[in-house]
């Protein structure tokens, strides 16, 4: 439309120029020498022809010839051509229009082609950048299809990858079409069979077309090296074969990259799980053997006849406590596995901070026996969060505080409502955390270098606390208090009655 409008405008300008020259020469300057007048008209025709379409130039030529004839050629005031020389003038005008507008048309086409190429190059570049930014290997192919449709304004794009006897097809674009699998098979087989370079189109041959509902779909083989790995289908806006080929190249690279990422990820997972196993076995070695030994010896003590009733009770208590310890260890391993699998389910309920703290203390009652727990809650109003996960995470912090601070010292627990939700901090009066250990504190199986020998443990507790908090979208951090001791804080996103009423969850 804009094209026609600008042509119309040029036509008007051309005609106006012709009229202006006619007026100037007849009314004001009174120039009547046909040679001068014709040269002036020719200039106008040339300019119009060079800048606009042939039709515009021809119309302008005719206007110029007619004006010349009417106003300047004798007999002036008629359209009669007395002198055959004037035919020559007319033909010259038309010839100039033709040649000039053709030349300019060629130049314009060239420019448009260059602009088009630059445009497609830019699109290809953007696309390859999209490819490089993709980190999600599983989603990569469909993201890629979407990105091609968007970047190249194509109505329909599909990436078809062969899978056993079927095709995995990811499509994108505003239109949806059903690809004929038999034709996909045929195109793929021929791509496998031959690899020909088309020197004229500067592309690899093997482009095929497929017709679906009267619409032509172009199929381009995707090649990793020379081996075909799939097909790219496109329909809608025509795209040059060379561009299509380059596009297929980018897609093939992207698919290879996605596969590579997938493989690397699974290799990484394998490595991590190997490391996990090793660390788990090492820590289990000690943490299983000690309670097992105690249980075995205590159980046979109970069975022996030499025990006094109190001693027998004491041995039974020991067995129960050690079974408790094993149960907690087992629970930890289970939690760890659940966190690893991303299978921690959250379930929000209303609960009082005091309930959460009490539940946490219950879970590690045995460990806390030799410490004073000082709890302050401000205010103890109901909060909506997952109390089970929060309590489990808190239990690990309490256990940790008890294990790493001397017996008979105080552990301070402070619960507060903050903007983000519920904050609970656990502070001990122990030696604090070694500076070098701080960054690794929440890593699985990490044990502080100095405390490792002194305190038994598996290095799972804090990692689990972090995993549980992460499932709640909460935070956890550790710091050393200026006046000694370590402080761990958890913040779990939670609503209070107030924030609920205000309709703005404190998340």
């Amino acid at each position: 439309v804009s094209r026609n409008a600008s042509d119309g405008l040029r036509l008007v300008a051309g005609l106006a120029a012709v009229a202006l020259i006619t007026l100037t020469y007849t009314k004001w300057l009174h120039v009547s020498n046909p040679a001068i007048v014709s040269a002036t008209y020719l200039m106008v025709v040339l300019v119009v022809a060079a800048t606009s379409r042939l039709s515009v130039a021809v119309v302008t030529s005719f206007a110029a010839v007619l004006s010349f004839n009417f106003f300047f050629l004798p007999p002036v005031g008629t359209f009669t051509i007395a002198d055959p020389q004037n035919w020559v003038v007319l033909i010259a005008f038309l010839a100039v229009s033709l040649v000039a507008s053709n030349l300019s048309a060629v130049a314009r086409t060239r420019t448009q082609e260059a602009v088009g190429r630059r445009d497609e190059l830019a699109r290809l570049f953007d696309l390859s950048r999209d490819v490089l930014m993709m980190t999600q290997s599983r989603e990569a192919i469909s993201i890629l299809a979407r990105s091609i449709a968007r970047r190249f304004d194509i109505e329909f794009v599909a990436i078809a990858l062969p899978r056993e006897s079927d095709w995995d097809i990811s499509e994108a674009g505003p239109r949806s079409m059903v690809l004929d699998k038999t034709q996909l098979d045929a195109a793929f087989v021929s791509a496998q069979a031959s690899l020909e370079f088309d020197a004229y189109a500067r592309t690899y041959a093997g482009h095929r077309t497929m017709t679906v509902d009267g619409e032509t779909i172009r199929l381009v083989p995707l090649r990793a090296g020379t081996k075909p790995i799939g097909l790219l289908a496109a329909a809608g806006r025509p795209i040059e074969p060379g561009t299509l080929d380059a596009l297929a190249g980018v897609v093939a690279i992207a698919i290879e990259r996605a596969r590579f990422l997938e493989e690397r990820k699974s290799a990484e997972l394998t490595r991590q799980s190997e490391e996990l196993k090793t660390a788990l076995l090492a820590s289990l070695g000690h943490d299983l053997r000690t309670p097992l030994t105690a249980i075995r010896v205590a159980a046979s003590n109970v069975k022996a006849s030499w025990l006094s009733p109190e001693a027998r009770g004491e041995q039974s208590d020991l067995i129960l406590a050690e079974v408790e310890r094993l149960t907690r260890l087992f629970q930890n391993i289970l939690d760890m596995a659940r966190i690893d699998a991303g299978a921690v389910a959250t379930e929000s309920r209303w609960a009082h901070p005091s309930e959460i703290i009490a539940a946490a203390r219950d879970q590690v009652e045995h460990t806390l026996r030799n410490h004073h727990i000082d709890v302050s809650i401000d205010p103890d109003v109901p909060v909506r969060l997952d109390p089970r996960l929060t309590a489990a995470a808190l239990a690990h912090l309490l256990e940790n505080a008890a294990k790493y601070s001397p017996a008979d010292t105080t552990i301070t627990v402070v619960a507060r409502i903050v903007d983000e939700g519920l904050s609970i901090s656990v502070r001990d009066r122990g030696p604090g955390i070694a500076h070098a250990d701080l960054p690794h504190l929440f890593e699985r199986f990490f044990r502080g270098a100095e405390t490792k020998a002194r305190v038994s443990g598996t290095g799972m507790g804090l990692a689990i606390a972090r995993g549980l908090l992460a499932a709640e979208h909460g935070r956890i951090w550790a710091e050393n208090c200026p006046d000694g001791g370590a402080q761990f804080t958890v913040v779990a996103p939670a609503m209070t009655r107030e924030t609920e009423a205000a309709g703005s969850p404190a998340v």
């Binding site: 070695g285 000690h286 299983l288 053997r289 000690t290 309670p291 097992l292 030994t293 105690a294 249980i295 075995r296 010896v297 205590a298 046979s300 003590n301 022996a304 030499w306 025990l307 001693a311 004491e314 041995q315 020991l318 406590a321 050690e322 310890r325 020998a453 002194r454 305190v455 038994s456």
Partner: protein, 234 residues
Amino acid sequence: MTRDARILLVDDETSIQRAIAPLLRSRGYQVDVASTGAEALKMVADRSPDLMVLDLGLPDLEGTEVCRRVRATSNLPIVVLSARGAEADKVNALDLGADDYVTKPFGPEELLARIRVALRRVQSEQEAKTGMFRAGDLAIDYDRHRVQVGDTEIRLTPKEFDLLSLLARNHDRVLTHRTILKAVWGPNAVEQPEHLWTLVAQLRRRIEPDPANPRYLLSEPWVGYRFSTGQSNG
């Protein structure tokens, strides 16, 4: 004397203390308990126990270090409790002078047997300081390099005699391969355990009533050998 022997139990795990102390008391031993290496060393000096049961994983000192320090001043029998699967710690402790080891998790009888054997060693050492050694049918005359099984004199090569007398002088203790190799062949032989396997096999054929089921020269798999004076191998 077995009945009123004093045992020092060193383990930082209260659960182990709470299970084992009553067990030992029930068998007539007097029991002292220590939770750290420093405490243990102090008690060895103050209470002069007859035997120490020592856990290798202590909070303050490495268990092996406790072994070394105790051995520097006394002949106190040490039975090591090792919770680590690794043989290295155990062997290390034995090399540093521990008598025997039990690996957690262990049963009560296993520990009691090791304690009995270790106490028997000290007992017989105190009884006999002579140049003669007897165990069952076997008699060794250290001074004259003579060995008898029943009434029959057994001819041994010098190496065989060295090995037998080394094990017999340390009877009822576990001697590590390394210790034996060093003592019999010299420090350069410690990496060549095959010498030892061959020599032990020869020696068993000479002195054991049934070489396939030895009663004197017992193997401690992957660790070393022990000369047993008891009827059972504990």
